[in-house]
Amino acid sequence: MRPGGPADAVFGMVPAAVASPGTVTEAAELLRAAAGHGFAILPRGAGTKLTWGTPPDRCDLIVETTQLDRVIEHAAGDLVVRVQAGLTMVRLAAELATAGQQLALDVPAGTSGGTVGGVVATGAAGPRRLRYGAPRDLLIGITVVLADGTVASAGGKVVKNVAGYDIGKLFAGSHGTLGLITEATFRLHPLPEAAAYVTVPCAAAAGALEAVRAAIDSQLAPSAAEIDRPAPGLPVSVCLLFEGTTDGITERVTRMREILGEGARAGEAPPAWWGRSVAAAGATALRIAFAPGALPSVLDAVDETAATLSPGILRPAIRGSAGAGVLEAGLTAQTPPDVAASFVAAVRRRLSAPPGWGDLPGGSVAVVHAPAEILGRVDVFGPLTAAELMWAVKNQFDPAHLMSPGRFAGGI
């Protein structure tokens, strides 16, 4: 344990201490002791996603997972790996690749991808979520430490397992508010023999939706269907990823190009924008989740809101998983905070019409990351369905509200 310093600050809050347990038992003792003093705890892996979410209410102790960084067991024959939460995604990928396997989660190109624990806690996923899902879909076992020091495991190391409640899924995407993730077990996939990308420019969102639909309906089974649109009025680039056998890819790509028509190009490398956030650090990125068929409505909502609020100033970039129904909208770092805040609220209002099944929300708009001045002015996560139930869960797992207080949806 050491005192916190300026480099440890989270949204300007410098923790009193930073601790780095070397074992799960040490982590449990640490949290139990911290609970005795009522310390608010923030888990930290590589710190790549610490700026995601709302600034915490309090931050007394940062618990670093960097010493919990081992591959505990890689059962290649079973396509299963069990790791400690502080292992980085890049190091895990390297280990698994030696056996021709992968944890099928994309990390942003050119980064360490953060730690396994951070990826699970934030539910981070990339283009290939269309085929493989998000971290929760690949997680088969977990070990956590609760705020009072209780160590608990759920799931196991076999893919088929319905014994007990799936606490792993509960913790996935919980942003550190239920407890500290110390170990995770995942199901793996074989690394594909080959991959290819097919790109086609579309004049507008309607065309992009048609292209994405054509790709999925084609039965050629793309692993990803992404779009990129740098600013309103510019063409929408659609890019599809195909994975499989070398010869199989060749056939499928040829067929896909036939279906998409002129303008469709194939290549072995992804476009430069592939898998990267639409907004760099210091800029603002929104995440919009929607039913895939609503793609044109989402782009219209973003562009028309921008044009109404601040024509010429707001020119949002859009990028992401059109096939799966998750996009990012990006505002530049120069966007005035009040304009950015109004934009978030207005887009959210515009997209909030339910699809006709009672009060099923049908989608969401959340701020992934933004400068502090903007975060202070917006509702980062937006309205929360089943808020009462979520608070009930929080109050059971962390009754003293010590784990990342205030970081999450609904004020949790």
Binding site: V158, A163, P190, L220, A221, Q396
Partner: protein, 498 residues
């Protein structure tokens, strides 16, 4: 039975029949069953060794009615249990003796097939197969396909997180649900999940699916639909032994091929299937493997060639390939009939469900074989070879004294073997009442305690399907977690403890 908690509501002592008039007001008199002869229909689910006739059964037709029933039960402190088609194999729908059985068979509308968004909304009583049938005209299907899919309900699938033969590639129910409307134990109707792949807040959807009806009752289900594969290739390969079959499976997985399904049956299971449905699997085979590949034709053809070569290389004595849907159905007929088929070669049987890491299968099968010999009880093995999910069928003659007990004992010993090898006590049938005694063998006290925090959040009064999954219910409202070391107040010096 009932809530033994210091939770929110202090339940008033009541017996179930007293609530009948109130239930009749909610669902109409015709949908309230109090006649003992009619109630016998509901005395067990697919696990017939556990029977309990409910005091009352109700058949709601709308989500609002379900919520009202839950409220009515909550007000007087009566336990309630949901039942779909009653095909469950762990007694998850075992009725409460002095409580209300809520049967969802009248809630069977396919509300909408939303092909543009690759999803559909259905009521919980819709059968699993009916979802795929409704989606088929649009070129889609609902991927989780338990063998009982003609009968089993999607609501039940949600409760058990059902898989099916094709879950090796396509995943389980939890991978195919985008939203649930739930009648919560609090009495309100709420949506969890928002119909998209990235909802805000906690993944309550992931926690609810597979919770075996203990956290609430599903009233509407938004399912993800999957594009029908361009090509399907099915082959049946006979091997001299399960070891040889297992080696073939290892070779296939090791070659980087991920089939949609890999099933194995041993000689005894084959014998039973033949007696039941005349599937004409290769006679004398020590094991048969069914491998199914699906996906783009360009990939399936190449994968199929590899699988064929690997089966030959690992000693397949005969390989049959399906060239059309009729031949495909013929290959699957024996496997699909396997559980019921053993009834042809044995007066009684136990269907067990356990999981081991796939690579441990040869050892585990040997161990089961040796336990079977020691006990003098036959075991037929059917299993999902791709993911290590075993279904040992423990065969016995219940007219012979002691055999039923020895069979139960053997069935339990098999679960112990699964746990020893780092597996699970249930791969898809659930814990229910049948396996709650095994939960402490698989999980520690802290693990079970922590899981039950979830239960306390959803159902503090413990009325929703009580007595299932956990052998010892947790008291809600007590401070969670085990006490180890000094109380925090002692540590901080505020109190002394004597």
């Amino acid at each position: 039975m009932g809530g033994s908690t210091n939770g929110a509501v202090a339940p008033a002592p009541a017996t179930a029949p007293a609530i009948a008039p109130q239930l009749a007001e909610i669902v109409g008199g015709a949908n309230v069953i109090t006649d003992p002869r009619q109630l016998r229909t509901y005395e067990c689910d697919g696990l017939t060794t556990y029977r309990c006739i409910p005091a009352i059964a109700v058949l709601p037709e709308t989500a609002e009615q379900v919520a009202a029933i839950v409220r009515a039960c909550g007000t007087v402190g009566l336990p309630y249990v949901a039942r779909g088609s009653g095909t469950g194999l762990s007694g998850g729908a075992l009725a409460p003796a002095d409580g209300v059985l809520i049967v969802t068979t009248k809630m069977r509308r396919v509300i909408e097939v939303d092909a543009a968004n690759r999803r559909a909304v259905v009521e919980p009583g819709v059968t699993n197969l009916a979802v795929s049938q409704a989606a088929e005209p649009f070129g889609y299907f609902y991927a989780p396909d338990p063998s009982s899919q003609v009968v089993c309900s999607v609501g039940g699938n949600v409760a058990e997180n059902s898989g099916g033969a094709h879950c090796l590639k396509h995943g389980f129910t939890v991978h195919h649900i985008l939203g649930l409307q739930v009648a919560l134990p609090s009495g309100s109707l709420a949506w969890i999940g928002d119909g998209t792949c990235a909802p805000t807040g906690y993944d309550l959807l992931g926690a609810f699916i597979g919770s075996e009806g203990t956290l609430g009752i599903v009233t509407k289900i938004v399912v993800r639909l999957t594009r029908l594969p361009q090509a399907v290739r099915t082959l049946l390969a006979a091997f001299p032994s399960t070891d040889a079959g297992g080696a073939a499976v290892s070779a296939i997985i090791g070659a980087g091929v991920l089939p949609a399904a890999i099933e194995m049956m041993d000689a005894l299971a084959i014998e039973a299937a033949e007696a039941a449905v005349t599937c004409r699997y290769p006679p004398g085979a020590g094991a048969v493997l069914i491998v199914e590949l699906d996906g783009p034709a360009a990939e399936v053809e190449r994968e199929y060639a590899r699988v064929l070569a690997l089966c030959e290389a690992t000693g397949a004595t005969e390989i049959r390939v399906a060239d059309d849907p009729a031949e495909r159905a013929a290959i699957w007929r024996g496997r699909r009939a396997a559980f019921a088929a053993v009834g042809r070669i044995s007066p009684a049987y136990i269907v067990q469900d356990g999981v081991v890491p796939r690579t441990a299968l040869p050892d585990v099968l040997r161990k089961i074989s040796s336990l079977s010999r020691e006990a003098g009880i036959r075991v037929a093995n059917v299993f999902h070879a791709g993911d290590g999910n075993l279904h040992p069928l423990v065969l016995f003659d219940d007219t012979r004294p002691g055999e039923a007990e020895r069979a139960e004992c053997l069935s339990g010993a098999i679960l112990d073997v699964c746990i020893e090898h780092g597996g699970s006590i249930t791969g898809e049938h659930g814990v229910g009442v049948d396996k709650s005694q095994y939960m402490p063998k698989m999980f520690g006290p802290g693990d079970l305690d922590t899981m039950q925090l979830l239960r306390c959040a959803f159902d503090p009064t413990g009325l929703c399907n009580p007595g299932k999954i956990f052998p010892t219910p947790r008291l809600c409202g007590e401070v969670p977690g085990l006490r180890r070391g000094a109380h925090p107040l002692v540590v901080s010096g505020q109190v002394e403890q004597f």
